[in-house]
């Protein structure tokens, strides 16, 4: 049924429909409303789940690790500093092949402290062994949680999935969302049946020491599963479409007006909505521009990206994160996808925008298209304020 809902509330509704047996999270802006709503649902008896109150994100991640190891479907959510505080457990969850699903309400990283949106938090954990998918709007954010559980718990995958949604823009944004019906959810997502679990009746150990004779193979195995997951994403997406009638194609990328485009922006998340508006406006003026939206950041769909961009003369990669001292993270992967090929764009320029909640307007996007010239640029910052950049040393 279509409803007018806040993004966070919509996420709580879909998580409830997924019937997790354990929910544990520590509140942090802009994730807070999601877990407040879930706590209320558990207290009201609407959701039969163990809601574990914890004193920190490190503990929240540890609780869902333990819950998942005990064979239960689990859920957590966080943002920014909270995700970083979870970090060592986040790597453990992937290394132990536990199908945890987490929402990352994307927010900037301190210092300086900033509660607003960019994507530095989840992108900084790209190497953790979690599948990461980025939502453009709240319908996607809802649907992606369902897809995330199916993917994570697939016996061929057994990896955690992080659903990334832009903080405030989506979490605090109210819009029309179709919350899937419980019967359909149950049909699409049957109860979790683990391959192995911690069970006193049949004791096993998990997360043990792997010495140099064993460690590398664990990493190789995850890497191989990640590559194979590119195909599973498409497979599960097609099944989802069959049940719910919403088509996310291969769930790797979305092509928007890219076929004959001379300039294409590559980006992730909610900013893609703004870019689509800009593309429509420029197309109306006869400009051949387009958008390639990355949905799956890990695994990264290198081959699909090459296929879309191989005949595009100029490409701009728009990052809402930086790698200080290096090229912007999304641009590195996009360039890698294009490197060493016979065909490909003449120019792949990289732009950084929207850090710490700096508003990305239609004009910001038009500026990216303007700066996408024959001269390639790297990590070119959009919407900087020069008056704030005057240096003063000492006195």
């Amino acid at each position: 049924m279509k409803e007018f809902l806040e993004g966070s509330h919509a996420i709580a509704e879909i998580v409830k429909a997924c019937r997790p047996g354990v929910v544990s999270a520590y509140p942090i802006t802009p994730q807070t409303h999601i877990v407040e709503d879930l706590a209320q649902m558990v207290a009201n008896g609407e959701l039969k789940s163990e809601f574990v109150n914890v004193e920190s994100e490190h503990s929240a991640a540890s609780v869902v690790l333990g819950g998942s190891a005990a064979g239960v479907r689990v859920y957590t959510a966080t943002s920014s500093q909270g995700l970083f505080y979870m970090q060592e457990v986040v790597f453990n969850i992937a290394g132990m092949r536990l199908p945890v699903v987490m929402t990352c309400a994307n927010r900037a990283i301190s210092a300086p402290i900033n509660i607003w949106n960019d994507q530095q938090d989840s992108i900084s954990l790209r190497d953790a062994g979690w599948i990461q998918i980025y939502a453009e709007d709240n319908q996607e954010a809802v649907d992606f949680h369902l897809l995330a559980y199916r993917l994570a718990e697939d016996k061929r995958v057994m990896l955690p999935v992080m659903v990334c949604m832009d903080g405030f823009i989506l979490t605090h944004g109210m819009e029309t969302v179709d919350i899937p019906e419980q019967e359909k959810v149950d049909k699409f997502l049957p109860p979790y049946s683990p391959l192995y679990k911690l069970d006193p009746a049949e004791p096993i150990s998990m997360g043990l020491l792997a010495d140099p004779d064993y460690y590398m193979e664990t990493r190789f195995a995850i890497q191989e599963t990640m590559k194979e997951s590119l195909g599973y994403l498409s497979e599960i997406s097609s099944e989802f479409n069959g049940v719910f009638g919403r088509d996310y194609k291969d769930l790797l990328v979305e092509e928007y007006q890219t076929k004959d485009a001379e300039k294409v922006i590559v980006a992730m998340g909610s900013v893609c909505g703004t870019i689509k508006e800009a593309v429509d406006q420029q197309r109306a003026k006869g400009k051949k521009v387009g958008l390639l939206r990355i949905i799956s950041f890990r695994p990264f769909p290198y081959a699909r990206i090459y296929e879309v961009l191989k005949d595009v003369p100029r490409v701009a990669v728009l990052d809402k994160a930086v790698s200080l001292g290096g090229y912007a993270p999304l641009s590195v992967d996009v360039k890698a996808a294009l490197y060493g090929k016979k065909k490909g764009p003449k120019v792949v320029s990289s732009f950084v925008a929207g850090l710490g909640g700096r508003d990305i307007t239609l004009e910001s996007i038009n500026e990216v298209f303007r700066r996408l010239t024959a001269k390639e640029v790297s990590s070119d910052f959009i919407d900087l304020k020069p008056e704030l950049l005057k240096e003063e040393y000492g006195r």
């Binding site: 007018f4 806040e6 509660i115 823009i169 109210m174 029309t176 909505g273 703004t274 508006e277 307007t361």
Partner: protein, 183 residues
């Protein structure tokens, strides 16, 4: 597409106002996107809430700089800040304030309605939360939303005494502007 910008201080209910407007548009078959922008995350700090509404899902995610409509919940914000910035030349502003409120000079084609929403709220709800009176005024001033729909939405949002008081406030806000328009 129509764009509404609400000026308030954190704690004055601007998000509720935006969501009530959003619900009302939703009920009338539109696709609203209602969202806040916080300044400093503390009570009393100036903040904005926005509603962007269209006949199809809204994709544009930026804040609103050239609104069709402005709602000013707290007129003291007008002292240090241009709340009318970017207001469309045929735009409409609804301001919570007393009759003698000093206004900046606006274009002749722009309309301003000063509604003593706090007074209306104090009388009906017992607290100076003028939001529901302001959305009533908004509906009358813009013709964008039906009064019955607003009353239904406000009725769903509140219960008990607050429900009764807020529905009265919506009506009074609406009537005030309607009478004002009759001249």
């Amino acid at each position: 597409m129509k764009e509404i910008r609400i000026h308030a201080r954190a704690g004055q209910g601007a998000i509720t106002t935006a969501s009530l407007l959003g619900f009302s548009y939703f009920n009338e078959g539109k696709y609203p996107y209602a969202f806040p922008n916080f300044g400093a995350a503390r009570m009393g700090a100036p903040m904005n809430a926005f509603v962007r509404v269209d006949d199809r899902p809204v994709r544009l995610r930026s804040q609103i700089y050239e609104p069709d409509y402005v709602i000013i919940v707290d007129p003291t914000l007008m002292r240090g800040f241009n709340c009318f910035s970017g207001l469309q030349s045929d735009g409409i502003a609804i301001i919570n304030g007393r009759e003698d409120l000093e206004l900046p000079k606006l274009k002749a084609s722009q309309k301003v309605f000063v509604v003593n929403a706090n007074d209306i709220a104090l009388r009906n709800i017992g607290r100076p939360l003028g939001n529901t009176a302001l959305i009533g005024a908004f509906a009358a001033a813009t013709g964008e939303l039906k009064l019955d729909n607003l009353i239904e939405v406000v009725g769903n949002r509140f219960s008990g005494k607050a429900q009764e008081g807020n529905i009265k406030s919506v009506r009074e806000g609406f009537e005030f502007v309607k009478n004002n328009l009759k001249g």
